[in-house]
Amino acid sequence: MLSIIVFLPILAGLVILAVPSSQKQVIRIVSLLAALAQIVIALLIWRGYDPSMAGIIAAPGGSPAGSFQFIERLPWINIDLGNFGKLNIEYFLGVDGISISMVILTALISAIGVLSSWTIQKQVKGYFILYNLLATAMMGCFVALDFFLFYVFWEIMLLPMYFLIGMWGGPNREYAAIKFFLYTLFGSVFMLLVMIGLYFSVIDPVTHNHTFSLVAMASQENYIKGAILGPDNTLWRYVAFIVLFIGFAIKVPMFPFHTWLPDAHVEAPTPISVILAGVLLKLGTYGMMRINFPLFPEVFHASLYVIGIFGAINIIYGAFCALAQQDLKKMVAYSSISHMGYVLLGLAAGNSEGMLGALYQMFNHGTITAMLFLLVGVIYDRAHTRQLDKFGGLASYMPVYAGIVTVAWFASLGLPGLSGFISEAFVFVGAFSSVTTRNIAIVSVLGIVFGAAYLLWSLQRMFLGTRKPDAAYDLEVGSDGHEHIHFHDWKGKLDLDARELVMLVPLAVIIIALGIYPMPVIGLLTTSINKLVTVLTPVVMTSMN
């Protein structure tokens, strides 16, 4: 099951390879079919998923089978290294509560990205091949339970992303693409080193071999005393934690490693922005929850306060930067930084409420930000500008668009009844309940006000009032006596067309539904979250004594 959902897009990519590049529609439809099939499989996985199984670590006895679900495990690379022993790399997939929601999110956002890519005209064949490669790599990251395999998917992801921004992006695309590429690569180099260190420090309890299995690594009793990252080697464990954390923090992106994000977003075409904000950023925090924290629980505990501080900086700093932006897309990019700060803060709380809030926020931020970027794309397609002061009064002329924008904007500012509110609320509940992060939570609530400030201000500047004198469109009085606007070289429908509605309405429905009754998603997560907190806690207790 998991293999199919991972490799379906790449299969579609291979099919596209055989289609002549003039057959643009065929290429698009093949991609769409693969994406839709991915959604169907994701739904099947969701249906078949048993929320009472915890995941995170192996079941008693050391086998992951009783704990993880949809497991696929095959030996992949076995090399005898003589004195160093054997190199065992496995093809090891599985899901638990940490990854299940991300799998669903990835399938959903990938499909919406395909629809959003419909308007791409330049080198359609190459675009969709790269896009499908990206979709495979993203999905692979979320289901890989072998660190080496995870790393492979992680690195594969970079390549298509680099070309998709660098070739299909805006005017300054090459700078943005290389910045993104190098920044992430910088992080993953350290990840590689830590990964090797871990391999030689961990023994699989069943086979008694060294292993890359993240499941084995998550249990502290599998670490060898005296090994480089063994339980007694505090210094190196701290170093490993920190460099791993930086590697993931770049992806989040966490201040001060965030500056690649606004550039990448501003230059990337709309669908790539959607993927980037909707899925890729989550890999950073997912990596923390899957790898960084459970592998080094005692260091995690010692760093709660620092992580919380960085979360608060992201929240408030991101909000203030967003307030100052003139470019709508850049504003949304900074809002992403601010909202990912909530995830960090929730993780720093270290308790169930906070962790749950963080994970649920990852899902909600995925859907909400995808919507925000799609909506930015809609207006950019028409006006060829995103400057906030080049509009005004759009609510009168594009009522449907304005209505959906209002839903998305209010979801982003955390309005109750919409999904983002619940996750932010849980983050705060968790962070405040933990004595370590209580003061940070008190400061961070300012983000609620300033988040509302930049969103409402931008809403007002673009949609309310009347057309600004230097707006990017002309005002005309139609034959029926009503006022209309006209974009200079836009031939399509003025308000949202059918394709745009098909992308936006499902997201809006999900956001509203999960805001009213979140259990369909939260119910999948709680057992694993509680397990994760227990995995992190006992060590916390001993290290405190």
């Binding site: 190098l182 001060p256 690649w260 930067c321 307030l323 100052a324 308790n351 609620i448 259990m519 806690t537």
Partner: protein
């Protein structure tokens, strides 16, 4: 599930249904679907009325209470806490039922009224949709049984007000006002949210009753200061929604919304929410928190009254009078006059809705003229409006025989009692401000009545250019059908409004007569409301160090919370220490609640003792206020303009609303914008600068490395090659291939060796 619970859920969801239908389908329905909104609200009101009949009239039990909840989020078996569920639920007590009836009634009347007032507007159907979600959110607040869901509906009220205040969104001022309202409310909300977090972090629950039980059982482990902080922070939510100092600034601007919305916001929904919320959490407020609340309310009542006396816009006067009256309610809660404050909330809702709808009728008739300076003489043209507006004004001013008299008097009596209990001194500021504001209220309302309804029309006095601007303003604001009339002519088109706008006025005015609430026009305490809504027992007595006896009482309070009046009597009898004051209060008061907490008992007693002094003082104050208004505006003995000129700084201070907006503009807003620009610069230049700097350094290093590689490393290689090459070239010279040369060289070598050997031998 009890049938009343089911009915309350229906009442809650009906307005939401109206919203959903109208937001999507209003254009496809005849009349843009206004009948859907009116019909649904009519149904909701009918159900609420049935509930009111069942609970208030038939049951007539002060301790009536129903609760129902369901698991909304199940967090599973949480480490260190155990199984944890977040519940949502409904609690129905007398207060809830009264509020339900009040909210649905006023919302229904506003709906009905809007079918006339908003007729012909571009977004007519959408307006009713927004009214629906506004009503839904408010009903949610009323029915919530826990802090989390009240916070959710709280914010939804914020959204609804955002949508409705900015209904004429093409107007810049309306768009500004809606943003201001939302953001100001959010500032209050974060305080409220922090208060919720304090309580949750202690008890892992949001439910009121569970929190009260935990508090009463002494399970609050943080310091007492945190408990006071929790109360004050929760109160911040009320400061935002109910427009108290310093967050009142949004409310006057909210007048940008259509007038029916103003009526809804000011009477039934938004501002009432704050007071209602404080009432819900009343039991957990410590005396210190209550003091903050009392002073905040008193200052607000006074400040808003001083502003209202100089405003010229008919709606702005009413807006500031709302702020002032809300100050009374908050003051009332602060001094422990729980029932009186809520009583005032109810009476105020009716007469203030009447005033706003009446002002809407006037504005409608005057073709969107809102400035009282250009009105006058309307009583002849609009007798119905005049009569109802005047009666509501009397109620607001607090004249006997009106509902407002009873509720305001009850609050002021408690304020006097409170000041006595707290030992006088600084605490007398509160009743003094209260009475002084009562006088100001009578004055500015008298002024308003006179300017609007009496004298001769002053339409022609309006400066031309200003008039012009106003026309454009009105045309933008909404097309109300009467624009063909020429407003320049002297009340040419002014006529009484149609029945659908008149009926609400009459209903609301008649609900402001005293006998609706109490048979005795001088004492609201004899009425049904004060009997049915009684002050809850405090649950924080044990945390208050100033009251050592409170330790004993808290436990009894906990048991009394089960709310069996007989049981609480029995327990009180058993605890000798407190039985005496409690009984003293009960004996004097007749039907009042029996308090186990000493302080609460004293307050109840004090308020009862101050009943007649309060009536006398407040009546004198009202008479002074009205006389002054008559002296200035009716008889013109004192010229208002010259008086204003004589005390110009004070006049300007009032006219410019104490400069709150300017102050915020100069500090908070300017600072935020500057900070955002500074941080954005920092981000682009410094943070990203470092990143780019590292990149450039790396690149330069790479180039340098390349050069080193090319010139040094490769140079060494080349140099070695060069040396070898050169040496080889030299050596090659020797290797000629001729035997003679080799022989000569060999000979030279041999000779050389011998010379060396012998010279060594010799020395």
């Amino acid at each position: 599930m009890h049938s009343l619970i089911q009915l309350s859920i229906v009442v809650l969801l009906l307005p939401l249904l109206s919203f959903v239908i109208l937001i999507f389908f209003n254009r496809r329905l005849p009349r843009r679907g206004d009948f859907v909104g009116v019909g649904i609200l009519g149904t909701a009101f009918a159900i609420s009325l049935y509930m009111f009949w069942t609970v208030i009239v038939q049951t007539y039990d002060p301790a009536f209470k129903l609760a129902w909840d369901f698991t909304w989020i199940d967090l599973g078996n949480v480490p260190n806490v155990g199984p944890l569920k977040i519940k949502m639920g409904i609690v129905i007590d007398n207060l809830t039922v009264i509020m339900l009836a009040m909210v649905t009634l006023i919302s229904l009347l506003v709906h009905l009224y809007s079918t006339g007032y908003m007729a012909g507007d571009k977004h007519y159907g959408r307006f009713f949709a927004y009214l629906g979600i506004f009503t839904f959110s408010m009903l949610g607040i009323v029915l919530s049984d826990n802090l989390f869901s009240i916070y959710m509906f709280w914010e939804l009220v914020g959204l609804s007000s955002y949508l409705l205040i900015g209904f004429f969104f093409e107007k810049q001022s309306a768009a500004d006002a809606q943003k201001k309202a939302f953001l100001t409310n959010r500032v209050g909300d974060i305080g409220m949210w922090l208060g919720i977090l304090i309580l949750y972090s202690q008890f892992h629950t949001f439910g009121y009753q569970e929190i009260f039980n935990n508090l009463a059982a002494g399970k609050f482990t943080m310091s007492n200061a945190w408990l006071t902080a929790a109360g004050v922070l929760l109160f911040m939510g009320c400061v935002g929604k109910s427009a108290q100092i310093p967050l009142h600034i949004w409310l006057p601007d909210a007048m940008e919304g259509p007038t029916p919305v103003s009526a809804l916001i000011h009477a039934a929904t938004m501002v009432a929410a704050g007071v209602y919320f404080v009432a819900r959490i009343f039991a957990l407020l410590t005396p210190d928190a209550l003091h903050v609340i009392a002073f905040c309310g008193a200052l607000t009542a006074f400040m808003a009254a001083t502003i209202a006396i100089t405003q010229n816009d008919i709606k702005r006067v009413l807006a500031y009078s709302t702020v002032s009256q809300l100050g009374y309610m908050v003051l009332g809660l602060g001094v422990g006059a729980y029932s009186a404050a809520l009583f005032h909330l109810l009476t105020h809702a009716f007469f203030k809705a009447c005033l706003f709808l009446g002002s809407g009728a006037i504005i409608h008739a005057m073709h969107h003229e809102q400035d009282m300076r250009w009105m006058g003489g309307l009583r002849k043209h609009m007798p119905w409006t005049f009569a109802t507006f005047t009666f509501a004004t009397l109620a607001l001013a607090g004249l006997p025989l009106t509902s407002g008299f009873m509720s305001k008097d009850a609050i002021l009596a408690s304020a006097i009692g409170f000041a006595k209990v707290e030992g006088g001194g600084i605490y007398y500021i509160i009743p003094v401000l209260g009475f002084f504001s009562a006088m100001l209220t009578a004055f500015y309302m008298g002024r308003q009545i006179w300017l609007v309804f009496f004298g001769e029309s002053r339409t022609h006095l309006k400066p031309a250019e200003e008039h012009h601007g106003h026309d454009a303003h009105a045309a933008q604001g909404g097309h109300h059908g009467h624009d063909d009339h020429d407003a320049h002519d002297e009340h040419h088109g002014v006529h009484e409004v149609a029945w659908n706008m008149r009926a609400p006025l009459v209903i609301l005015a008649s609900l402001s007569v005293f006998f609706v609430f109490s048979p005795d026009p001088l004492d609201g305490a004899k009425g049904w409301f004060m009997h049915m809504v009684q002050t809850p027992q405090t649950v924080v007595g044990r945390y208050v160090s100033e009251h050592p006896k409170a330790m004993v009482t808290a436990e009894t309070a906990l048991m009394a919370e089960a709310v069996q009046p007989e049981a609480s009597h029995a327990i009180t009898d058993a605890s000798h220490a407190n039985a005496e004051p409690a009984h003293a209060a009960a004996g004097n008061h007749g039907e009042g609640p029996v308090f186990t907490d000493e302080r609460q008992a004293e307050l109840a007693h004090g308020s009862h003792a101050a009943h007649y002094p309060a009536i006398i003082i407040s009546s004198i104050m009202v008479v002074i206020g009205i006389s002054m208004a008559l002296v200035v505006f009716a008889f013109r003995i004192i010229d208002p303009d010259r008086t204003a000129a004589a005390i110009r700084p004070l006049y300007l201070f009032s006219y410019n609303k104490w400069y709150w907006d300017e102050m915020y503009e100069a500090t908070v807003i300017r600072f935020s914008i500057l900070l955002s620009k500074a941080l954005s610069w920092f981000d682009a230049k410094i943070v990203d600068g470092i990143v780019n700097g590292v990149a450039i350094t790396t690149r330069n290093f790479a180039f340098a490395n390349g050069s080193f590689d090319k010139y040094v490393v490769d140079g060494l290689v080349n140099f070695t090659a060069f040396v070898v090459n050169t040496t080889g070239g030299i050596l090659r010279k020797f290797q000629t291939g001729k035997v003679q040369t080799y022989v000569v060289l060999a000979l030279l070598a041999v000779v050389g060796y011998f010379i060396y050997y012998f010279t060594k031998l010799i020395y």
